[in-house]
C-alpha cells in the first residue's frame, strides 16, 4: 500500500493551498457552524452559502465541481432523517398507506427534511475542500496551534504515519485467509465460504488479535528507534507556521461573509 493511500490531499498551486492551515480550519468550522445555525427553509442564505463554497472551489484550482463529485458520502445517513417528514405538524401534502399505518407528509416536515439534507451536503463539501487543499501533517499542526492537547495530536500523527503499514498487515492477513479457507467458485459470486458463522467470526477475531500483537510489538521497536534518535517525549517540526497579512485578511473577509449569510438567513 502506498503511504498516502488514505490521504485526501490534491496537489495544486492555488491561493487556498497557500493559506495558513489555521485559517482554513477556522473558516471551515465557522462555515459548518453557520449552516447548522441557519433556520429551516432559509433558501436564499443556503444559496449564498453554496456560492461561497463554489467560489472557494474555484480559488483552489481543483475545478468548480471538485467537491460536488465526492459530496454524497453522508447521503446514506439521510435515511434516519426520513421520519421527520411525518413528525412535524403542518399542512398535509400527501398521504400513503404502508402495511398498517397511514403516513402523512406535511409541508413543515418536508421543509425540515430538505433543510437537514442541504445543511449536511454543504458542510461535508467544505470539509472535503479543507483536506483536499491541506497536507495532513499541516492540518495536525494547525490543530496543535488551536490548543488541541499535544498528546492527542501526537497520537493522531502516529496513527496517520503507521496506518498504511498496518493496512498492509491487514491485507496480508486477508490474503492469507482467502488462500486458506478454500472458497468455492460460487463463493466468488458472493455466497459464503468456509465453515459456520461462529468459525468465520473466530478467524476474524484471531486476525484482529494477531494484528494487535504485531502492532504492539512494532510500537516497542518504533519507540526504541525513536529513543536512539533523540526522542524526548514530544515531536518537533521544521516548518513553523506563520500568519501573514494575507491570512488575516482572508480570514476576516470569510468570517464577514459568513456573518452576512446569517443575517440574510434571518431576514
Amino acid at each position: 500500500m502506498h503511504f498516502d493511500a488514505f490521504d485526501r490531499y490534491h496537489h495544486a498551486t492555488s491561493f487556498i493551498h497557500r493559506l495558513d492551515p489555521r485559517v482554513k480550519v477556522v473558516v471551515t468550522i465557522a462555515y459548518i457552524l453557520s449552516n447548522t445555525l441557519l433556520p429551516d427553509g432559509a433558501w436564499i442564505a443556503f444559496g449564498l452559502a453554496l456560492l461561497f463554497l463554489l467560489y472557494a472551489n474555484a480559488l483552489s484550482n481543483l475545478g468548480m465541481a471538485f467537491t460536488f463529485k465526492r459530496s454524497f458520502v453522508a447521503l446514506p445517513f439521510a435515511l434516519v432523517a426520513v421520519t421527520v417528514l411525518f413528525s412535524i405538524p403542518g399542512q398535509p401534502l400527501t398521504t400513503f398507506h404502508f402495511i398498517m399505518w397511514d403516513f402523512t407528509i406535511t409541508d413543515m416536515g418536508l421543509l425540515r427534511f430538505e433543510s437537514i439534507l442541504v445543511r449536511s451536503w454543504l458542510s461535508v463539501q467544505m470539509a472535503i475542500l479543507l483536506v483536499a487543499t491541506t497536507r495532513f501533517p499541516d492540518l495536525i499542526h494547525a490543530f496543535e496551534h488551536l490548543r488541541v492537547p499535544s498528546i492527542l495530536t501526537t497520537i493522531i500523527a502516529f496513527l496517520y504515519r503507521y496506518l498504511f503499514v498496518l493496512g498492509d498487515e491487514v491485507f496480508r492477513l486477508l490474503r492469507a485467509r482467502e488462500a486458506r479457507s478454500a472458497a468455492s467458485p460460487a463463493a466468488a459470486a458472493g455466497t459464503r465460504s468456509g465453515g459456520s458463522v461462529a468459525w468465520r467470526a473466530r478467524v476474524a477475531g484471531h486476525m484482529a488479535g494477531q494484528l494487535f500483537l504485531r502492532s504492539y510489538e512494532r510500537s516497542d521497536r518504533v519507540y526504541n528507534a525513536m529513543l536512539a534518535r533523540g526522542y524526548t517525549g514530544h515531536l518537533n517540526t521544521m516548518n513553523p507556521h506563520e500568519l501573514h497579512r494575507i491570512d488575516y485578511i482572508s480570514m476576516a473577509s470569510a468570517l464577514i461573509v459568513i456573518l452576512v449569510l446569517q443575517v440574510v438567513g434571518r431576514l
Binding site: 413528525s87 425540515r112 493522531i156 484471531h206 502492532s215
Partner: protein
C-alpha cells in the same frame, strides 16, 4: 474495500447546535481527565504505543467476516481498546480514530465530532472496561464471556446515544429511530462481541502478560465497575422505555427544555402509532430487555467455551 463507513458516524447538519455543544462539553471534560490521568500514570513510552494502537483499531475495522446475505460483521473496537489498554488510554485512542475518520474521510462531521467521540469512544470504553473490571480475578472463560457481553453492550450504548441525540435535535422520530438503531446494532454488536472475544482469547494464549491482572486493575479504579454497570442499567431501562412509551420521554425532554414547542404536538398526526412487537407497559419491556441480555450473555459464554475448547 479500504474502508467501510458505519451507521454510527453522524454527519454535520444532523444534530442541532445545542446538542452538538452539550456533547462537546461532555467529551472535552472527559478527555481532559483522560489526558491528565494518562500523563500522570504513563511515561513517554506510552505515546508511540497509543498512536500505534490507534492505527491498529483503524486497521482492525477493515477486518470483516461474511454473515449472510451480503452483510458482514466487523469491529468498532472501543471495548477491545479499553480492555487491552485501560479506560483512559482507550478513550484517547478511540478519539484519535474517530477524529481522523471525520477529518480525513468525512465519515462523521466536524461540528458533531463531540457527539461521535462520546458515542463511539467514551461510552464504549466505559462500558467495555467497567464490565471487564468487575470480573478481574475470575477464570479466563468468565473474563471472555463478560468481555463479549461488554462489547455487545458498548455497541448498543453507542447506538442508543446516537438515536437519542438525533431525536433531541429534531432530526428523527423517537419511536422509530430508537428501535431501528437498536435492532440493527443488536446484530452489529454480535459481530463485535464475537471478534472481541476471539481476539482476546488469542492474546490470552499468545501474550498473557499483556492482559495480566495487575496492570489491568492499575489502569482504572473500582469506580469503573460502577460506571459500567450504571451505563448498562441505563441502556436496559431507557431503550424499552423509549420504544414503548415515547410520550413519557418526550415529556421529560420538553420539561427539561430540549424540544422545540413545535414538536410537542407531533403525535396528533399519528395518534394510533404503536410499535406492535413490543409490549405496552414499560415494566414488561424492561424485563424483556433484561431477558434478552441474559440470552446474549449465555450465547456468548457458550461460544467462548467452544472457542476455547477447539483451539
Amino acid at each position: 474495500m479500504l474502508y467501510s463507513p458505519q451507521a454510527l458516524h453522524i454527519p454535520d447538519g444532523f444534530l442541532s447546535i445545542i446538542i452538538s455543544i452539550i456533547c462537546w462539553v461532555i467529551t472535552v471534560s472527559t478527555l481532559g481527565i483522560a489526558i491528565s490521568r494518562t500523563n500522570k500514570s504513563l511515561g513517554e513510552k506510552q505515546v508511540p504505543l497509543m498512536g500505534m494502537m490507534a492505527a491498529f483499531i483503524f486497521a482492525a475495522q477493515m477486518i470483516n467476516f461474511p454473515i449472510a446475505g451480503g452483510t458482514s460483521g466487523h469491529l468498532l473496537g472501543g471495548a477491545l481498546a479499553a480492555i487491552t489498554l485501560g479506560p483512559w488510554a482507550g478513550m484517547l485512542v478511540m478519539t484519535a480514530v474517530i477524529g481522523v475518520q471525520g477529518l480525513l474521510l468525512q465519515d462523521g462531521g466536524l461540528l458533531v465530532m463531540g457527539a461521535n467521540i462520546l458515542n463511539m469512544g467514551l461510552l464504549t470504553s466505559s462500558v467495555g472496561y467497567g464490565l471487564y473490571r468487575s470480573v478481574l480475578g475470575k477464570g479466563q472463560g468468565m473474563k471472555l464471556a463478560v468481555a463479549g457481553v461488554a462489547a455487545w453492550l458498548s455497541v448498543m450504548t453507542g447506538a442508543l446515544a446516537t438515536a437519542l441525540q438525533l431525536w433531541l435535535s429534531g432530526t428523527a422520530r423517537l419511536e422509530i429511530v430508537v428501535p431501528a438503531m437498536l435492532t440493527v446494532h443488536a446484530l452489529i454488536g454480535l459481530g463485535e462481541a464475537l471478534i472481541t472475544v476471539a481476539a482476546l482469547g488469542f492474546i490470552f494464549r499468545t501474550r498473557p502478560d499483556l492482559l495480566d491482572e495487575e496492570s489491568a486493575s492499575a489502569q482504572g479504579s473500582r469506580g469503573w465497575v460502577l460506571a459500567g454497570i450504571a451505563i448498562t442499567l441505563l441502556v436496559l431501562l431507557l431503550s424499552p422505555f423509549a420504544s414503548s412509551n415515547p410520550d413519557g420521554l418526550e415529556r421529560v425532554a420538553s420539561d427539561l427544555g430540549f424540544l422545540q414547542t413545535g414538536q410537542a404536538s407531533a403525535y396528533q398526526i399519528l395518534p394510533d402509532y404503536t410499535i406492535p412487537f413490543l409490549g405496552s407497559t414499560p415494566l414488561s419491556t424492561i424485563l424483556a430487555g433484561a431477558a434478552g441480555l441474559i440470552v446474549v450473555g449465555l450465547i456468548i459464554a457458550l461460544l467462548g467455551q467452544g472457542l476455547k475448547a477447539k483451539s
